[in-house]
Symmetry: C2
Subunit: 710 residues, 2 copies
């Protein structure tokens, strides 16, 4: 036995000599080892459980088989009897076990305060769990007859004494609970604090009191109470998704999604803006109420699924595009419908859930991250929060495709963003047989380069069309990813010219085909191509294969609409590259549902995205929702994001003279001027000689383009 035994903490390896008799928790704090504790040493919360290792640790010079800590107290034994799941060999509550001699202690992951969870986004970067809310268990002095302090004053003193929390305010909802919570808990209460710093009890009496920001008490419950939940919500134009998250573990307990009910007021954002313009405040109220109502339903479902009470949800982070952001808050979005696309504010907003009509805890806060610009909303900021391009060297292009495509380009040296008016074509709009991604929609397409014959896959079937009886296919239309693939495949198969027109000259077509596949016979496209005068259409699914009993075709206009959409997207990317002064990107991140479905190769063949190593093109799914989750779980990243939104350089495509120029240039497949070495290396493009106009024909092409005035 020694007066200053050696203590070694695993897995950090931190070690040092401490005074005999102090608790393992105090020893951990003295050595800067991260051990959680909520109850402040009252043997109640079990968060500080550690494993006292037995055996010889020769490398540390410890050669005793004894665990050199004091025996369990009655309260500690009682704790483990009440929580048998927490008991493991050597398990002790570090707030009560005291060191008697040299010892090795393992801090299990669940006992670390700064736990990490892995994000679902592409980078799978761990998120450090450090939310803006915390719960504290404190014992409040009873009120003595004749003294002046009220319950709140004594609670403040307890929070200052035990947790160093200063300058707190209390919500009226918590004040209403306070007296009865103190009574029910016999002066011991669990307090939920929003924004209050210090998460640790006083480290040791010698340390200077750290500087604390003010916080707000949202809730007071009698006794020890665990239950601190939050919501990460992505309000999309079409879909609303809510993730219910345990703010102490980072675990997603439930995810609920629903159609955005505003669809019934207008499919796309602009028609909803028009609805408000036509119907005034009443229309605005209806749109707001519909989305709030749906959110409340999702919240109730999620809470039920996770078996928690809705009033244990104290925080929600909501991201969305600028129009959805306005409609959610009850702000008239009319100004967003026309130049100069004025936002009410681009700053992050914190507002009480009750003021929005959201049914969470009555004092719950809703955080809406900053907006970047009139067309670039907090959903895009969510992508930035999740992908963190500002922390990377790689020149990253982030693309989130919807009716507008939000695009961000950059790395740690700077970020540029813009919104590009791609229109609804990528979502199936303005396409003859276009439809939403739903069962029956054609989502994958391959065309036989020799015969011109298509095969395809519909959503809801695992097999391709050529392995199913026609009657079993039931194709209903073509969704976004299918549209991209069919146009890219038509081009690759030599059925489309680089300018987007179907090849009317069979000879030219044959020649091109021969070059791609010299061994092929002359293809017979008569079954798949139909000509109506100068205009053609391609039959993707026959009447027999379709659920409608009619052919599903791609028309010349469909191809033109895809060209317009992809040109807008490409022009946006190009503007940003000009802004950043780069000619090539290192990495392309496709965000959103659409990004997950499209095939990078086909997207590149279309010229939808600039040239890039295909291996570095990644789809990250709902990165906006991931960003909301990160802003919910990590207050530092949340705070950074407000600055991030201000730091992103924004290009207004509507007024940038380069945009029109790039847009026109980008109509060609894949692109008239940009090199696509990646595609050429892969042989993914039709031979240039056949489809790319030479000098003379190029001029003719352009003249014809002007005549067709797109």
């Amino acid at each position: 036995m020694t007066d200053s035994p050696l203590i070694i903490f695993q897995p950090s390896g931190r070690q040092g000599r401490v005074q005999t008799g102090i608790t393992l928790l105090d020893a951990a704090r003295q050595l800067g080892v991260d051990v959680d504790s909520v109850c402040g040493g009252r043997q109640t919360c079990g968060k500080c459980k550690v494993i006292v290792e037995r055996g010889e640790f020769v490398k540390y010079g410890i050669q005793s088989a004894e665990a050199h800590v004091t025996s369990a107290s009655a309260d500690e034994s009682d704790y483990f009897r009440r929580h048998p799941s927490k008991l493991s060999t050597g398990g002790r509550l570090s707030c009560v076990a005291c060191i008697t001699d040299d010892v090795v202690i393992t801090v299990p992951p669940e006992s670390q305060q700064r736990k990490q969870v892995i994000g679902k986004s592409a980078g799978t970067r761990p998120i450090e769990i450090d939310p803006i809310l915390h719960q504290y268990y404190v014992e409040v002095e009873p009120h003595a007859l004749g003294e002046r302090r009220g319950d709140w004053e004594r609670l403040q003193e307890a929070l200052a004494r035990e947790w160093h929390l200063q300058h707190l305010t209390i919500d009226i909802a918590a004040l209403r609970q306070l007296t009865n919570a103190l009574k029910a808990g016999k002066h011991k209460v669990t307090v939920t604090v929003h924004g209050g710093e210090n998460q640790e009890p006083i480290p040791n009496p010698q340390s200077p009191i750290p500087n604390h920001t003010s916080g707000r008490v949202l809730d007071v419950r009698g006794g020890f109470h665990e239950g601190l939940y939050g919501l990460a919500i992505d309000v999309g134009s079409t879909t609303i998704a809510a993730h219910l998250i345990d703010l102490t573990t980072g675990e997603t307990l439930a995810t609920e999604a629903a159609m955005n009910p505003q669809v019934s007021f207008g499919e796309d954002l602009m028609s909803r803006v028009s609805y408000v313009m036509m119907n005034g405040n009443d229309g605005l109220r209806k749109l707001t109420e519909s989305v709030i109502g749906t959110l409340n339903t999702l919240i109730e479902k999620a809470a039920k699924r996770a078996k928690i009470a809705v009033n244990e949800i104290y925080e929600a982070v909501i991201v969305g595009n600028t129009v959805m952001h306005a409609l959610l808050l009850g702000i008239d979005p009319t100004e967003l419908g026309a130049a100069p696309f004025t936002l009410s504010t681009h700053a992050p907003i914190d507002v009480k859930a009750s003021e929005l009509g959201l049914r969470l805890h009555p004092a719950a806060n809703v955080h809406l991250p900053a907006l970047e610009a009139g067309h670039v909303g907090s959903d895009n900021l969510g992508v930035l929060i999740a992908e963190a391009p500002e922390r990377q060297d790689a020149m990253t292009l982030l693309i989130d495709i919807g009716t507008n495509a939000e695009i961000v380009l950059g790395n740690r040296n700077g970020l540029w963003s813009c919104s590009s008016p791609t229109g609804p074509a990528f979502e199936g709009g303005q396409i003859s047989h276009g439809q939403r991604a739903a069962p029956g929609a054609i989502e994958r397409v391959r065309i036989n380069y020799v015969t011109g014959e298509p095969r395809f896959k519909v959503i809801g079937k695992d097999e391709w069309s050529d392995t199913l009886p026609d009657a079993d296919i039931g194709a209903t239309g073509i969704c976004g990813s299918g549209i991209i693939e069919v146009v890219a495949e038509l081009f690759r198969a030599g059925l489309l010219r680089s300018d987007g027109r179907f090849i009317e000259n069979q000879e030219a077509r044959t020649k091109s085909q021969e070059e791609i596949n010299p061994q092929s016979s002359i293809p017979n496209t008569r079954s798949y191509m139909r000509w109506h005068g100068p205009k053609a259409e391609y039959v993707l699914a026959t009447a027999a294969q379709s659920a409608t009993g009619k052919d599903i075709v791609i028309t010349q206009d469909d191809v033109r609409n895809i060209q317009l959409a992809k040109a807008a997207l490409h022009a946006g990317c190009k503007l940003l590259m000009l802004g950043m002064g780069v000619s090539k990107v290192d990495k392309i991140v496709l965000a959103g549902a659409f990004g997950s479905y499209i095939d990078p190769l086909h997207a590149m063949v279309l010229g939808l995205i600039p040239d890039c190593d295909l291996a570095t093109v990644v789809a990250v799914g709902n990165a906006a929702g991931d960003g909301a989750r990160i802003a919910l779980l990590n207050k530092t990243r949340r705070a950074e994001s407000a600055q991030l939104a201000r730091d992103v350089n924004y290009i207004e495509t509507a007024i940038d003279p380069n945009f029109q120029q790039e847009f026109i240039g980008a109509m060609h497949l894949p692109h008239m001027t940009d090199p696509y070495p990646t595609l050429q290396a892969l042989g993914a493009l039709p031979a240039k000689s056949a489809n790319e106009p030479d000098g003379r024909s190029a001029r003719r092409e352009r003249r014809r383009e002007r005549q067709e005035k797109f």
Copy 2:
């Protein structure tokens, strides 16, 4: 003409030389003359109107009959054409009229920013109008295509540029209005800010920017809009009164009052507390909703009477006792019903009106001043705000009588407060024919010291009973002031002994009577006194004079209950005097409706209040409401009051051993031990020899008292 003409401002007399060509407003600011301006020099608000004097001002050395200012601009002429009521001879807008030569300017009272209104309280001290809210008229830069700032960011910049307001936040209600207000006002808006400092535009570019606190934007309206109203509300146990006040002029535009609907749940506070104890949260909710509902009705009525919109009311200050305070906020008051009388908080509370269910402007704030202690609420603090004893040398005793009497004693050297359990006797409770102050209640009583015959006055009649036919009197009972007078008069008439018992010994009575009025004949009291064995009752009103057809009498028990009440009050006063270490007070202030009705002489005869020059006993009516009004109109006094509440020393009568002792001693009329030189000088007491027991009989008295166990 001179390069630095002399300008003299009236009535302040401030003068100085300024640069030729600057506006009169700038000149005023340079010389520190208080001239109001809301619109920041846009010739819109008219607040800065001054009178340009003509004529010779020999004493200033000005001998020209010309007004040496520039002529009115088209905008200024337009302003006066639109507001003909504002035009007076020499009237000019000081923001536009520029000085050309020596001139004398009068600033009319309505153009002074720091206007004062006279309070209704005893001191009739002027209140400086400096509310926590202000309206600002600003011009916001239009949004340029491609720029990033939103409406809120540009509004912040305008408020910083024109009014030096920094670190503002905006309420969601205002954010919802912002875009359309800017559109409606063509970028000119009137902004209502809560808590934001500086009320003046930038004085001149050379002055250092003053230090500003943060504020909150509550409302934004298009164009120039005047309308900034607040409510001062006193929620009493019985009556609720709301005063609607113009926060720019201090004028009370409307006052509405109603019964507290909680009366139907329990007449006194303790029975309402019991109701909550019996009915739990449901009971609490009902009590809260009833008072909020009544407040909303009063607010609507007041707004209608004042012809303003409810959503132009941005602030309410509400005072009340501690139980009403809790019930208004929806806080369980159970703890206030028993020792140790724990408050949820004694701090001032600011809460959104909407969170309490009050229908004002949706972003309106409700301020509830601090509570002093478990029994001493913000109504008492309101009295302190209004009376400001802490600023005076006179040792002042403030008494607010209700079911409990709140008492404060002190001066600038310190304040002591307590709550004394007077019980309901002073309000007519526990008195055989007691009733509330309402038409028909006997409020004034005089007894003929010779005959013992009473005469009285009922509420609602101007005449005394002896000048009316019996059938026209219609007495229904006795209210508090009547009870005090009848007991004091019975004592003065020698019908009551000092110990409170009716005089059974006619001989002694006769003797006393002779001493008071040696010329009187022996009175015949047989018509007015009735004896039931040892107990007697005094007939104040006959069956013929009463509305009930029965005699209205004062019984021995009634007298005893008044003795208990007055003893409690006296003991409270005595405790405070002990606390302050004084034996005499300089001034007594009676607050509340009851205080206005009782006669100081009778109160002193009863021993209700300690000895004091009767000329310094003043009734100030609803001083609590006055205090609320001051806290509404002057933010400095509001801030001071929070400190005042903390500074008042509180004595808990329930545990102070001196209280019981003083209480027992104070049962006698006027008091067993205290000298009342004032009364003796006035001959207002019966002769001491007859009624004051001598040593031997005093001991007998006390024994008898103990036997009667009161």
